[in-house]
Amino acid sequence: MRTERGLNSSSLKWLMARKRRRPCLPPLGSYSPLPPTGMRSWNHHYMQEALKSPKCQVMESALEGTGKEGKKESLKKRKMAGSPGEGLLQPVKLSRAELYKEPTNEELSRLRETESLFHSSLLRLQVEELLKEVRLSEKKKERIDAFLREVNQRIMRVPSTPETELTNQAWLPDGVQVPIHQVPYTVKGRFHFLPPAQVTVVGSYLLGTCIRPDINVDVALTIPREILQDKDGLNQRYFRKRALYLAHVAHHLAKDPLFGSVRFSYTNGCHLKPSLLLRPHGKDERLVTVRLHPCPPPDFFRPCRLLPSKSNVRSAWYQGQSPSGDGSPEPPTPHYNTWLLQDTALESHVQLLSAVLGSASGLKDGVALLKVWLRQRELDKGLGGFSGFLVSMVVAFLVSTRKIHTTMSGYQVLRSTLQFLASTDLTVNGISLCFSSDPSLPALADFHQAFPVVFLDSSGRLNLCADITTSTYHQVQHEARLSMALLDSKADDGFQLLLMTPKPMIRAFDHIVHLRPLSRLQAACHRLKLWPELQDLGGDYVSAALGPLTTLLEQGLGSRVQLLAHSRPPVSEWDISQEPPKHRDPGVLTLGLLLRPEGLTSVLELGPEADQPEAADFRQFWGSRSELRRFQDGAIREAVVWEAASMAQKRLIPHQVVTHLLALHADIPDTCVHYTGGLLDALIQGLKETSSTGEEALAAAVRCYDDLSRLLWGLDGLPLTVSAVQGAHPVLRYTEVFPPTPVRPAHSFYEQLRERASLLPRPDKPCPAYVEPMTVVCHLEGSGQWPQDAEAIRRVRAAFQLRLAELLTQQHGLPCRATATHTDVLKDGFVFRIRVAYQREPQILKETRSPAGMISLRDTPASLRLERDTRQLPLLTSALHGLQQQHPAFSGVARLAKRWVRAQLLGGELTDESLDLVAAALFLHPEPFSPPSSPQVGFLRFLFLISTFDWKNNPLIVNLNNELTVEEQVEIRSVFLATRAKLPVMVIVTPQDRKSSVWTQDGPSPQILHQLVILAAEALPVLEKQLMDPRGPGDIRTVFRPPLDMYDVLIRLAPRHIPRHRQAVDSPAASFCRGLLSEPGPSSLMPVLGYDPPQLYLAQLREAFGHLALFFYDQHGGEVIGVLWKPTSFQPQPFKVSNTKGRIVVSQGGEPVMVPNVEAILEDFAILGEGLVQAVEARSERWTV
């Protein structure tokens, strides 16, 4: 019956799918075939495996059928892993004796330490684990030390060279290039090579604070004094010598077989200062990177020459002109001076740090944690990054100012440092590690003039933050603030969010701007008159332009953004035989915008009054966009007005601002600005609405609903008055993917049922437009008159429905249609479905009478359904409606997310509400991010959440209206663990639904969730890559198209009978007329409601064949239904009355057994969907006996 592979019941690890490789091998012998290549077939395989076992608990069955040996082996394995139940947390059971035994002193002190130093034992354990992971092991350290000794010997053996002019570089052998751009080339001076006077290890390796994965050991080579001349500090002569020195060393080391690779790189991205990277040969290649930094002998430079106000690059030399002699002062070169100073201070810094960190293990832990923190936020890399060294210095500063004590734990150091970063502003009040009161030292103010961020080292002359831009610093501050808020909230998984969650730019920022090509920035520098800066930075136009450009944009974007960050040019590595990379080589500069939702609503940039002196500045800043306007209060002001009608367009005003300002002030044309912000909007735009993403249409429907509820409240003549009207439909919480538009039916397109004022679909026409009534729950005032019998209550409710229809028609002229359970009302083209609710009805459905006459309440399916529809759904709807008012991007995010899930054909398996709640979680619990302000970033985080959340061991707590306290959440988690086995696979907890997770009760099944996780994990990197591609995203719909090759049968549908055909991901060029008018006509006839042939067809299929197969369909215009056979139901079964459905008796080994009658079923697919079904494609032969 089944294929070979099918017969193995391999262990099902449905949630470990994130790892592409097989999570854990089942016992030997139970699994023979190799994993198929390619993701798609891999999925399929997984899903098939998954489907074989109906529940996740059957993992045990993996052990059956294999030899005893296998069993033992895996048991042992499990014991070793120590996790009972295969990755499933279990409530802890400790015996009384164990719990209440006398504590030892050691235990007591550990408990006390945990309480005082960490805020929970979990955090402590987590921190310890993390440190274990990033720390270098002793074994490796030994290997590295041995390597370093070798390196030292080799360097000392590099031969000397005869003295030559600096510009005569013919002595350099072929195969090595000078690792620096020598512009201008002419420098007077002489150079010859001598082995270094000293080779010293500096940096984090010595301190024991270096962290994996990239272990770097910094080695300083002291250039012998004989090589250097007086005034080497002037006009880059020191840097040229330094580069030549390295080139010679590189040439000799490259020949040595000890090294696997010998390459150049720029120290911290500074292109005047190359360093040489050495990696061991063979299997140790990834073990360590040794970085060689040449440095001058001690006291070689005179510190007073290197103050930030001094100039060490002469314009005459730099610009290649003879001195003009007009007496204009040389521009200061603060950055150039800093780079010189950095080389002189390598050793003193390491001494300072080792003195401070010394033997205090808590401080070292803290520095390691801070480095991980920076790394996850991509803050530490590139030119002007907030490096690990810098953060160590901050810790040293805090120790010296007694903000951190040496007995503190790593966690406390992390916390105090973040607190410090969050609460101080180094752009205004710099700090200094120098406590001497030497009057010859420059004042902090001098540094503030030359640099945006100031943090002086212990010499009082070197600004450690010299290369950091204001934006980068603000980004660090912002991150520190977010992290502090997270730590203060005492969230259970704070550790995970703080230190283990990566924050790549595309997922952290609402909008992304790519500037490309970088060579445009050269022109920008000239336009911005940045010549002194270029001279200072040795011609690095990217760094020179970065600060002024971000300042310009920040000013222009004003209240629309919270934070503007830029990518830092990455530090490249290159082969020693290659030219050093050029400034434009990174190719692209990326800006990240964190929007401020409240600032986005305005289309106006209000300037000063026309007669004020500032008006000229305003005009200059905005150029032609600034115009004089008269305002209602009579004032005449300068103002800029952007064109944006809808919310989607308003969200994209920053795009207009950025392109306008860059073109105006920096000569960067809009062809060089690639804005990634609204690319996904197309997927939630209606057919004719290309300028809006539907928020306006949803708001219109909600307004109509508000009107209706007012009518209901004021209704005259109902026996009981209406006490509350509550929405219960996705439209009324702004999460319907395609918002409804007012219906204007063309009567000729329909059959008309005059006596019931209704339109009917016609067999000879295409399927009419799909109109879904919006459900509204109507509560009546309390009364003792209701009958207390379930059947009678339904009759009375029906009477109310009838009366409601009558009154609405009589008093307000609205066309209505009443049934036993609801009343449909047509108002302004929208159709509402009013359901009258009686508060006590669920309770009456629950009542059961015990034999002793005691009445008790027991949940029944009917009572649960009724409670869900009339109580929980309205509550959820109003809570999410509220959320939308707080976070205008919620609608877009929730709809994109839902759209994607449905496009993957999984929409039928996950309820609408559960997806809305997951989307809400992104806003209510955004940590470590801030709440999304654009659909794009929200959708990316949705994919990230879905693919990484551990659904097995955690409930997703969605704290609507912040009603759950921290204690309650802890309680919820422990109840969750205790009752895990009884709960659905996906558990979503809200304040209104703390235990049962109503919206995921009926699905998804473990298999479907597993599939969803895999799909999300696949889609996320693809989409992120597309969005981060500065050349444009390509086809943005790629991740929305479902994989179809995993299905056994495909049922193709005729577009004629798919009413929502045009909503498809790839919208068809042409579709059918759906019987709608573009102009409102006089219609009092009820349009065709909820008539969607594919859905009716699916309901029939699921009812008839649900026990044999799963059916997948995209309700938004899908043209295909995917069918997956359930392998379990294909196992031959003995003849029983209960399992004859759709089966046939065959003889197997002389025994009559039942198997699915597949040939007949395939024909049934066509019969049941006659007219709708175009073709039934059976794609696999797996069912054949």
Binding site: M16, S83, G87, L89, V92, L94, Y100, L111, S120, L122, L125, E129, L130, K132, E133, V134, P213, V372, Q496, L499, M500, E751, L753, R756, P761, R762, P763, C767, P787, A792, R795, A798, L802, R817, A818, A820, I855, S856, L857, N953, H1057, V1088, L1096, Q1100, E1103, A1104, T1140, K1141, G1142, I1144, N1157, A1160, E1163, D1164, I1167, G1169, E1170, G1171, L1172, V1173
Partner: protein, 259 residues
């Protein structure tokens, strides 16, 4: 084993489903709404085959008194009121079972001997499926408010009468001792008593517990102090164990690698 009769939707189909039929039997002592001798029990009736269809297909074996399609075989007797089409709409059909009651006992064996294949939809009796069926279903679902009103009124009238009778009877029995001299106490009496519900009794118990808790002295005796402290340590230990388990799990999932 039961007999198998092939059944197809129409001539066009290649392969057929099989109706599994046998005489309806009941175990000793159980009651069944269908008389055993004259009833044919049919399994695996395809979703497009309606009651009328089955009636037509089986009438060659003898006059049929009634056909009833059900989702599952019905074991016990159930009240046979015709369900209201407003309040109990027919569910979407899947594969069903049928009880076919013939007028004569001989027809059952004739039916068992049927060879088939039976055709559900023929030219003379076409059965609608797909789009045509859905349009008809939609048309049928458009309600007639007047009929609904009539049905509701009729039901409520019966209901009210029933309630009135019950009340009258209860009033009559009020305070009258039964043969063992027990008097039934109801809520309607002069001194109403608590209703006999679970919630009410839980409330009483809770009130009692609270009353007792209020009187208790906490941390009064030295041993109480000791115990509170011990309790605290036990809590911490329990938490510690839980956390260790969590860590173990995370380690297994390689959750501690920040890269």
């Amino acid at each position: 084993a039961p007999e198998a009769i092939p059944i197809k939707f129409s001539e066009k189909q290649q392969s057929s489903h099989y109706l599994y039929v046998r005489e309806h039997k009941v175990r000793e002592g159980t009651k069944s709404p269908w008389p055993p001798k004259r009833t044919l029990f049919v399994l695996n009736v395809p979703p497009y085959c309606t009651e009328e269809c089955l009636l037509r297909l089986l009438s060659p074996c003898g006059p049929v008194q009634s056909v009833e399609l059900q989702e599952k075989p019905e074991l016990a007797e159930s009240p046979k009121e015709p369900p209201s089409k407003f309040f109990h709409p027919k569910p979407v059909p899947g594969f069903q079972v049928a009880y076919v009651l013939f007028q004569k006992p001989g027809s059952v064996s004739a039916a068992l001997a049927l060879k088939g294949p039976l055709l559900v939809s023929t030219e003379s009796h076409p059965v609608r499926s797909g789009v045509l069926k859905w349009i008809r279903d939609y048309t049928d679902s458009v309600p007639d408010p007047e009929a609904l009103r009539v049905e509701v009124d009729a039901f409520m009238e019966t209901y009210d009468r029933k309630i009135a009778e019950e009340e009258a009877k209860a009033k009559e029995e009020e305070g009258v001792p039964d043969e063992e001299d027990w008097v039934k106490v109801t809520r309607r009496g002069r001194r109403p008593v608590l209703p006999r519900t679970e919630a009410a009794s839980l409330r009483v118990l809770e009130r009692e517990r609270r009353k007792r808790a209020r009187k208790e002295l906490l941390n009064f005796y030295a041993w109480q102090h000791r115990e509170t402290k011990m309790e605290h340590i036990a809590q911490l230990r329990k938490k510690f164990e839980e956390d260790k388990q969590r860590i173990e799990l995370m380690r297994a999932q390689r959750k501690f690698r920040p890269y």
